[in-house]
């Protein structure tokens, strides 16, 4: 009994020392969001002005140039107008926009996954993106009716290390499961995608076809698979804690704010640096493109710490 107690105590002390050493080591990484344990806080915030001021111009430029996004855009020929709108609007701001379709269309270029099942399509698309990532380390998954502002996505992940597992977006809870809502857009770091592609091969943890009687929605299924690899959904927020990913349209959110915050409609609504909106008509998306990339009051200067240039050969931004 005594010897067991002795080994137990040795174990406790050794474990305690080990944890202490690890936590001391983690404080020596000022530029990166450290360690999987932190992700149990369930939200990821963009860097504040004060945090960004800590970087030199050269460091900022490096971060600016390194943050590149591969956009996985799921489309279908039956939603051709949405497909066309995504091609013509926000996707031009992705470093690599790739369209993944259920069946090919003569109208637009896309990777034809030749899959009718949505979950199977999502898996194939993510695997394809992983294999074709090149130097890109951030992945953004969108549906046909999502509108994204990629510059704001880059701002959110600027100081985050893509070799850490990040799975971000509009985080929703369903019972015990926290998942990222599909229509608000899903962000995956390279490490998260690496783990995901690996667990795709595990038929028990992450079946290729949802179990017939208990079919989860794709976004929940994704969360389940990722959870097995130790990756958890986190809510993407601005420096002040406002959600950046929205699964509703601008009009809906403003209308809600008029009901809930009648004296402060715009402040009570959405972040200035929102990344996504959803459920907008193609015409509304074109208007939003103008509203985001063109419309502004003369003389207002933001003094941002990063620089993003308009894409070549585009006329609506």
């Amino acid at each position: 009994m005594l010897s067991e107690g002795g080994s137990f105590m040795k174990g406790v002390i050794l474990g305690g020392v080990f944890c202490l050493v690890l936590s001391l080591l983690s404080s020596y990484s000022p530029t990166t969001e450290s360690r999987t344990e932190d992700h149990h806080h369930h939200h990821v915030k963009a860097a504040s002005k004060d945090e960004l001021k800590q970087f030199s111009d050269i460091q900022l430029k490096e971060l600016n140039d390194q943050v590149q996004v591969y956009c996985v855009i799921m489309v279908e020929p039956k939603n051709l107008v949405y497909w066309a709108t995504a091609v013509d609007t926000w996707s031009k701001h992705c470093d690599k926009p790739v369209f993944y379709t259920s069946e090919s269309s003569k109208a637009f270029e896309a990777v034809d996954l030749n899959e009718k099942d949505n979950w199977a399509r999502l898996r194939k698309a993510l695997k394809h993106a992983y294999e074709n990532a090149g130097d890109l380390r951030w992945f953004f998954v969108a549906q046909p009716h999502t509108f994204a502002i990629i510059e704001n996505l880059k701002y959110l992940v600027l100081t985050k290390d893509p070799n850490e597992p990040f799975y971000l977006g509009k985080a929703v809870k369903s019972g015990e499961l926290a998942y990222v809502a599909y229509d608000g857009g899903i962000v995956l770091s390279y490490e998260a995608l690496t783990r995901l592609v690996k667990v795709f091969q595990d038929e028990d943890k992450c079946p290729a076809s949802g179990r017939a009687l208990w079919k989860l929605s794709d976004d929940k299924q994704l969360a389940v698979c990722l959870k097995y690899t130790g990756v958890f959904a986190e809510n993407g927020e601005d420096a002040r804690g406002k959600s950046l990913f929205n699964s509703k349209s601008v009009d809906s959110l403003i209308k809600e704010s008029m009901d809930n915050n009648p004296n402060d409609v715009v402040e009570g609504c959405c972040s200035d640096l929102a990344v996504t909106f959803a459920g907008m008509t193609p015409n509304q998306m074109q208007v939003l493109m103008f509203g985001v990339y063109r419309l502004r009051p003369y003389g207002h200067d933001s003094h941002d710490f990063l620089t993003f240039y308009p894409p070549v050969g585009s006329d609506n931004d």
Binding site: I149, V250, I254, V287, F290, G291, R294, R296, Y309
Partner: protein, 255 residues
């Protein structure tokens, strides 16, 4: 320009959004209220719109002429970006007899400005308008406010100035953004563009980055435009259209 029926459903949202950026704002109505509204000696209704406008301009001339250089008339369903209006006006002299807005071609030989899109009178233009009514050179010959006012402007030798930006894009708009911005294949001029004095374009280059106004904007859309203009932005984005190139080059990069 508003009325008792619209104060809570429309004008309230103007008061909460763009009106805050006016040097001075007056809400013109037929009834005095704590909104606050100014009571003009008119009745409500579309037939009385020009009377209301005449009375409003006379009131301003009598009580507020020295408080501003430019006088903007807008409706309770117009959204205005004041900074952009100031920018367009900065090239003009308010002592000159000028007026600006969305220029329409028909009926008046020098054209006239769309009422719904909002129009601006220089101090001199306002003086001449009021003078015209006191001498009888201008009369209420029609209830079509914008066209009739345009006639008075012509009579009193007030010149219509070009409100387009330096790329020739329109700044004042008599309809909401979706009427202009959505891409369309080349087609005959649409009915809502038929009156335009300067040849309009459809699609992304319809409208200046520095939009001054949109019309037929109600409640939710007021706040949506407020959010899109003053809040939502792409972080770090270098806009394509930089009106003050030299100023940009001389500025040091701020931190």
């Amino acid at each position: 320009m508003t009325g008792p029926k619209n104060l809570q459903t429309r004008t309230k949202h103007i008061r909460e959004t763009w009106a805050k950026r006016c040097g001075k704002v007056l809400y013109m109505s037929s009834v005095k209220t704590d909104f606050p509204t100014v009571e003009l000696n008119v009745s409500e209704g579309r037939e009385n719109l020009y009377w209301k406008t005449i009375r409003a301009l006379q009131y301003i001339h009598k009580h507020h002429i020295d408080e501003a250089n430019w006088f903007l008339k807008a409706d309770d369903d117009t959204y205005v970006v004041m900074e952009n209006l100031n920018y367009i006006l900065s090239k003009y002299d308010p002592e000159e007899p000028l007026y600006l807005g969305r220029r329409f071609a028909p009926f008046i030989s020098q054209g006239y400005m769309s009422g719904g899109a909002g129009y601006v009178l220089s101090k001199e233009a306002l003086k001449r308008f009021v003078k015209g009514f006191s001498t009888g050179e201008c009369t209420h010959f029609s209830s079509i406010e914008d066209m009739a006012l345009g006639k008075c402007m012509e009579t009193m030798k007030v010149r219509p100035a070009d409100s387009r930006d330096m790329k020739g894009s329109q700044t004042f708009h008599p309809y909401p953004p979706d009427h202009y911005i959505v891409r369309k294949p080349p087609r005959p001029r649409q009915w809502y563009l038929l009156y335009d004095y300067y040849k309009p374009s459809e699609g992304p280059n319809c409208c200046s980055d520095f939009v001054v106004s949109f019309h037929y904007i109600y409640a939710v859309q007021m706040h949506v435009l407020e959010y899109l203009t003053y809040h939502l932005r792409p972080y770090g984005y270098k806009y394509r259209f930089k009106p003050d190139e030299e100023l940009e080059m001389n500025k040091t990069t701020p931190r």
